[in-house]
Amino acid sequence: MTWAPTRPETPPADLEQRPLPRGRPLLQTNLTTASGIGLGVAMIWFSMLVLIPLCAVLITASEGGWGAFWSTVTHPQTFAAIRLTLLSAAAVTLVNVVMGTLIAWVLVRDRFWGKGALEVLIDLPFALPTLVAGLVLLSLYGKDSPVGLELAYTPASVFLAFLFVTLPFVVRMVQPVLEELEVEVEEAAASLGASRATTFRRVILPALVPAITAGAALSFARGVGEYGSLVLLSGNLPYRSEVASVRILGSIENDNLAGAASVAALLLVISLAVIVVLDAMQRRVADRG
């Protein structure tokens, strides 16, 4: 993601003074010993936790060949689960982009009673064990719902659970950027003749786009992998409210490891693609202004 402020690159000043190591180095680098060790540790850590498991998933998925992979993911029940997961995650991401930005705006720009409490509550979906979140949602939107919305065991329950757990992502990404935004910039736009709406569209929004995109990517990825919060509420009805993660678990329970890996691999590729596309979009918008 490119939303983080870029730091000026500091040239390695000690490069000239240091005696060069004897013999030809294996790899031509300009790293100091300390940063070389740092990079090594980081790479081992990252490989063990992320790269190797991911490769393992891809290898397991490819064990049966392309045909087995294809027949697994196009199996009607599996396909329905994947479709529900992706559509819900996409819809939730769109809602979060609007609502998350709005909530961040209110938190930064407005003063109201209970603001401090709201600040803390926003993070609750992060902090709450997802199964607890599922229980809360079930008691609110399940059978005999006190709010009159019986969403349990419907596709909408998946959407609802996603909405709950992904709420903080966009808010927490946009908030610090909005706080950094100088009010003077908006005043400059106003004195140049821009209305409030134009100022928002042409000055504020372009500054927020990278943060919104980063939040959107996180929220989509979280939705695709969500399990705990929806498993109680959705009831996991095949073709109706079953999601991909539940389907993967089902395959594993039936000793179909390759099948589980196939679905996992597909989700992995799609999530990666979405993140890459969002990042590219974000760059284009930032360039265009």
Partner: protein, 322 residues
């Protein structure tokens, strides 16, 4: 008169920022609002631009009542101390922003942006982002951006305040030349009396939310209206209960002049071309005196010597209110 401020009051909570301010700013000139920090000068500038609203009073710009107009419709150019650049837009797009809002034809925008960028010496940076410019360059870009909409008045709020001393000095000389070229009515806020004296045609001295004096730099220096203006626009020292400029006090080694005040030299300081004396008078006043080195040598002044002080004829003076 280009800008007429009448009876403007402004409070922030219990703090009085402006207290019944009346001031007229002449067309086509470069006017400085000068005063210490927190004195209300920036607030006044922001009220003229419509970025802040006055509690009472009126603002007239070029004969039209602007008191109720939003900043978008006042047609003023505003330059901020911290540049307020649009970070995501190139230098050229920053400058063209106001014209794009006004939906000017493409060709006209391109031509005017080119003109303005060469005026502020940034032509070769047109496609850079503001983050790739130095502070001084950013402020020149902000100035071009404000000028692009052909404002009736140009308002600058401590425009050089965030720059280092050398760049600040260069830019203020450049601003003076630019103003002679563009001739738009310009008001700038500063707390630096040297900057105001060097650049402005007219200076409005503001302190504690009130206008202390309005006049040309010479007027203010030679005929200050009160103690505050006298001591804010340069050095001042007391002699016999009256304020004088240290260089307006004459030193005699014998009691020649009638009414000369007797004292002893307690300190001699050489500051390059100048010599600074501190003379303790018999009344207990510590009087600062400045003279050239050659004059000090002629008089043969030394530490502990008894001297007689008197103001030069036609010296700027202000009696101290008790």
């Amino acid at each position: 008169m280009s800008i007429d401020v009448r009876g403007v009051n402004k409070r922030f909570g219990g703090f009085v920022a402006l207290d019944d301010v009346n001031v007229s700013i002449p067309t086509g000139q470069l006017t400085a609002l000068l005063g210490p920090s927190g004195g209300g000068k920036s607030t006044l500038l922001r009220i003229i631009a419509g970025l802040e609203s006055a509690d009472s009073g009126s603002i007239e710009i070029e004969g039209t009542d602007a008191t109720q107009l939003p900043p978008q419709r006042r047609n003023v150019g505003f330059v901020f101390q911290h540049y307020a650049v649009f970070k995501h837009l190139t230098v050229a797009r920053n400058v063209s922003f106001g014209m794009e809002i006004r939906k000017r034809p493409r060709a006209e925008i391109t031509q005017r942006v080119d003109e303005l960028l060469s005026l502020v010496h940034l032509s070769q940076f047109a496609d850079r982002l503001p983050s790739q410019l130095s502070g001084g360059q950013r402020q020149r870009m902000a100035l071009a951006r404000a000028l692009a909409v052909q404002p009736t008045v140009l308002l600058l709020d401590e425009p050089f305040g965030a720059l280092d001393a050398k760049v600040r000095k260069e830019l203020r000389e450049w601003l003076r030349r630019l103003h002679d070229e563009v001739q738009v009515t310009t008001v700038f806020v500063t707390h630096d009396q040297e900057e105001a004296m060097e650049v402005a045609d007219e200076i409005v001295v503001i302190n504690h939310g009130r206008v202390e004096q309005v006049g040309s730099p010479d007027d203010l220096y030679d005929r200050p209206a009160n103690e505050f203006v006298m001591s804010f626009l340069g050095e001042a020292t007391t002699l016999g209960g009256t304020l004088f400029r240290p260089h307006d006090i004459e030193v005699a080694t014998s009691p020649l002049a009638v009414g000369g005040i007797e004292g002893t030299i307690s300190r001699i300081q050489r500051v390059g071309f100048w010599v600074r004396l501190t003379v303790l008078t018999d009344d207990g006043e510590a009087v600062a005196v400045e003279m050239t080195r050659s004059h000090a040598r002629e008089l043969g002044l030394a530490h502990g010597q008894t001297v007689w002080l008197s103001p030069v004829p036609r010296a700027a003076r202000v009696s101290i209110a008790v």
